[in-house]
């Protein structure tokens, strides 16, 4: 698409539209989380925080803060495997992703046809 065409007709999502720019929330296993804070510290999007009483802290997604990139760095570092991203972010229009499927761990066998 040429620059002029993009300027006039480029379908760019509004950044503050939660429908057009969908950032996902991570899944948290509250029984497994021991509140060690590692994931909070390393999350590139800064979307995590600890809450609760001292000694019983747990992790949660900050209210109203968007921007999780589903990188799963939180899962990689968690000693208790208590947190993980299971869906990729989804943008509309120009930034809509194509050719991406469901989340899978690394697989050592041939995948089947979709």
């Amino acid at each position: 698409m040429s620059m002029l065409k993009r300027l006039l007709f480029g379908d760019f999502p509004a950044w503050d539209d939660p429908q057009a720019c969908q950032f996902r929330r991570v899944q948290i296993d509250l029984d497994a989380c021991d509140g060690c804070k590692l994931c909070v510290t390393i999350c590139p999007a800064g979307v995590l925080e600890l809450y609760g009483q001292k000694g019983h802290k747990k992790v949660r997604v900050l209210d109203g803060v968007r921007g999780c990139v589903s990188c799963n760095n939180c899962h990689a570092i968690c000693e208790n495997q208590a947190i993980k991203a299971v869906e990729h972010f989804a943008m509309s229009g120009y930034y809509r992703s194509e050719g991406l499927g469901e989340f899978q761990p690394p697989r050592t066998s041939l995948p089947g046809p979709v």
Binding site: M3, L4, R6, L7, G10, F12, P13, W15, D16, C21, L38, T41, I42, P44, A45, G46, R66, G67, V69, C71, N72, N73, H75, A76, I77, C78, E79, Q81, K84, A85, V86, H88, F89, M91, Y94, Y95, G99, L100, G101, E102, F103, Q104, P105, P106, T108, S109, L110, P111, G112, P113, V114
Partner: protein
């Protein structure tokens, strides 16, 4: 044409190879590694699978000889036409790193103020002005204004995210703009060599695309000795990671694979 040159030009025809060589069974030393389907990941694969971008580092500096080893591995990366369109700047001076961070944060503040309309009150003059600017920037270079980097840039402007993540060492990859073909691809490859060499020492790395902001400053170009032919293409932050970011294999989306075999096409995912 001299004899030596014409001789050097003879390209061996595969037909002239031993039939045994082509079958690949002759020499046990060159036999392929047998990996049955379902076998566990080997060391090299595992290194790629457990590499994560590290953004929280211990204060300890990385020994200079390890950085040098990484840059030696870089020298042997593939590049288009073997043109190797890059050179490096290694920044380990804490004062310089702080100043680089400050400059890039300031750039993020200016850019956020210019284009991120979500930081203005809806309906205000600033809101509409930034929306028009965003549209213009989007048309010129849409990939830069994807919502993810815009969110990151805004977080940096608000002091909630960092550019170089306080890494003790930052390697700037300077791209020769006169390289063959698409030099940006060669930058990606040479950087991967650096990152994976670091990984083998249990060092943590993070690619820093925001390092490009340095190009805009005449002062920084001069301080870093960057001539017109070169530009900061990417940077790689290096240090000792906090925690054990390699301990769990993670999940990521699958990617469509079109598979052509036996006269058929299948889509795998």
């Amino acid at each position: 044409m001299s004899k030596t040159i014409s001789e050097a030009r003879i390209i061996e025809d595969p037909e002239e190879l031993d039939e045994e060589e082509l079958e690949g069974e002759a020499d046990p030393e060159s036999a392929p590694v047998e990996t049955p389907e379902g076998a566990d990941w080997n060391t090299v694969e595992r290194a790629f699978l457990t590499r994560r971008s590290i953004r929280k580092f211990k204060r300890k500096q990385v020994p200079a000889h390890l950085i040098h080893r990484m840059l030696e591995v870089a020298r042997f990366a593939p590049s288009q036409g073997n043109c190797q369109p890059y050179k490096f700047a290694v920044i380990r001076d804490p004062k310089l790193l702080v100043e680089m961070e400050e400059y890039c944060v300031d750039q993020c503040k200016q850019l956020t103020a210019a284009v991120n309309y979500t930081t203005y009150k809806k309906g205000s003059f600033g809101y509409y002005k930034a929306r028009v600017m965003a549209r213009l920037f989007n048309a010129i270079d849409p990939n830069m204004l994807h919502p993810v980097p815009v969110t990151a840039m805004t977080s940096i402007a608000h002091g909630k995210f960092m550019v170089f993540h306080r890494a003790p060492t930052v390697i700037l990859i300077l791209m020769d703009k006169h390289g063959i073909g698409v030099p940006e691809v060669d930058i990606g490859i040479v950087g991967t060599n650096i990152v994976m060499a670091a990984e083998s020492h249990r060092l943590g790395t993070c690619w820093i695309g925001f390092s490009k902001l340095l190009n805009k400053s005449k002062e920084w170009r001069e301080r870093l000795g960057i001539t017109d032919r070169f530009e900061v293409s990417e940077a790689i932050a290096v240090g000792y990671p906090v925690g054990k970011p390699w301990q769990n294999l993670i999940e990521r989306p699958t990617h469509e694979i079109a598979w052509f075999e036996d006269g058929e096409k299948q889509i795998l995912g």
